[in-house]
Amino acid sequence: MRNRIVWQLAAAVGASAILAGTAAAQSAERGCIELKTTAELTQSYVDDAGKSATRLVPINKVLPGDQVVWTIVASNVCAKPAADVAITNAVPEHMHYIGDTAFGPGAAIEFSLDGKSFAAPQALTVSAADGGTRTARADEYSYIRFVLGRAMGPSETLMVRYRAVVL
């Protein structure tokens, strides 16, 4: 239970940063669950103790080779719980998903090559040059889906995140 509370607080901080960083972005649709996406980059800095550390900063411009952290925050704004929650995100055009970076507490993370069939990484295969099949590479994924294994309660907020590189 303690972990859950910490998590929600952290998510709330993340949401305020998103609002500051994406003023020009189109607003989200209204519904029981509202989604917000944001783009950030990892920035290195030296902390007060003189140690180098990293932090995420909202961005609106990127360069080829940059690794963008995409964060999606979901909030249940209704008074009722929402069941069967699944967040789906197409890997943006001009970007490739970076393997093993998808992160969603309590969520099963699945990927898709076509946006229709979703599976765990080891179950995704593509045709190989020799006529057989091989396991798909992370940069070949075109969709990511985070399937929450429980209902989202009223006022609950959660966040999922992944990294993608600008081609």
């Binding site: 972990n3 910490v6 998590w7 952290a10 998510a11 901080v13 940063a17 020009a24 972005a25 607003s27 989200a28 649709e29 209204r30 519904g31 029981c32 669950i33 509202e34 989604l35 917000k36 996406t37 783009a39 950030e40 800095y45 902390d47 007060d48 990293t54 932090r55 995420l56 961005i59 609106n60 411009k61 990127v62 360069l63 080829p64 080779g65 690794q67 995409w70 964060t71 999606i72 209704c78 009722k80 719980p81 929402a82 069941a83 069967d84 929650v85 699944a86 967040i87 995100n89 197409a90 055009e93 001009h94 970076i98 093993d100 970076t101 966040m159 990294r163 590189v165 600008v166 081609l167």
Partner: protein, 340 residues
Amino acid sequence: MRSTPAPIGWPQDASHRLWQIIVITLTAALPFGAHAAGTAAGTTIQNTATVSFSVAGTPTSTNSNATSVTVAEILNVTVTLQSPTVTTVAGATNKALVFRVTNTGNSNETFALAGLSALVGDDFDPVPATPFIYIDTDNSGDLSAADTAYVAGTNDPTLAADANVGVIVLNNIPAALADGTRGRSQLHAAARTGTGAPGTVFAGQGTGGVDAIAGTSGGQAQIYGEYLVGAVNVSAVKSQTVTNTFGSAEPVPGATVAYRVVVTATGSGTAVGAAFRDAIPANTTYVAGSLKRNGAALTDAADADTGAYVVTPSPAVTVALGDLTLAVGAQTIEFAVTIN
């Protein structure tokens, strides 16, 4: 006490720390500007997520806001040397070094070119010719009539992402240089938008008004080429042996004179297309079929082998020696005449 900034939005648990480790590893594997050109400057990358859920048994879905980021212009360039070391001689003029300038950024960019021949680390300074720099307009890989002289600020080459252009730098070689000495001359290319330490931002100065940012090259690059003074001396030493029917070495009429000429190249250079020609002395007659090179017979006819006996404009033996260097070694030519 000042607070230490923490990564925004992360739960402080073990999985967070693990994730950070993964990220750092990935960052090291994919360095800044890893792609040669990459997504074009000005491209908008947009992202909208969708959530599906059900409330009281009714399934529904909603979209997120559309977050967009714009690809900025990255300023990157490479300069490569196309010509190997140019072997030349002291006093030579308009000797060409060929370079290639490639725009490794992600947008159209104009590059200023500059040559420099006063460099350290060599034995002499080549003297810039006038004009100093040519654009290889016809992409021939050498200086040709169609190429245009470069004038800074007037015909700076504008290159699309990943495009390249050949550039020729011309120098004169000073007189009185020792054999084996080297002189360097370099070509420098700099993005007109700006140059600076990698990461330097030129706000709003990129294509279409996006920010331009100096890439790993800092928006500029240079490389030098080298001239090698390769002097070559070709010497020929001629000796003769006379035989007659009396068994002596007296050069009487009817005696045969066998000539032997040893041609040797010395120095570090190359005598390109060296040709041997020796006139048949007056009052003698060439002995048909007596011409040899390095012990191997050469026919008298002007044909596939390198030797020939010619009668015009005056009787002589000729041997096309080809490119002679110290490494090729001495060439021995033999022929005979009879005294009339």
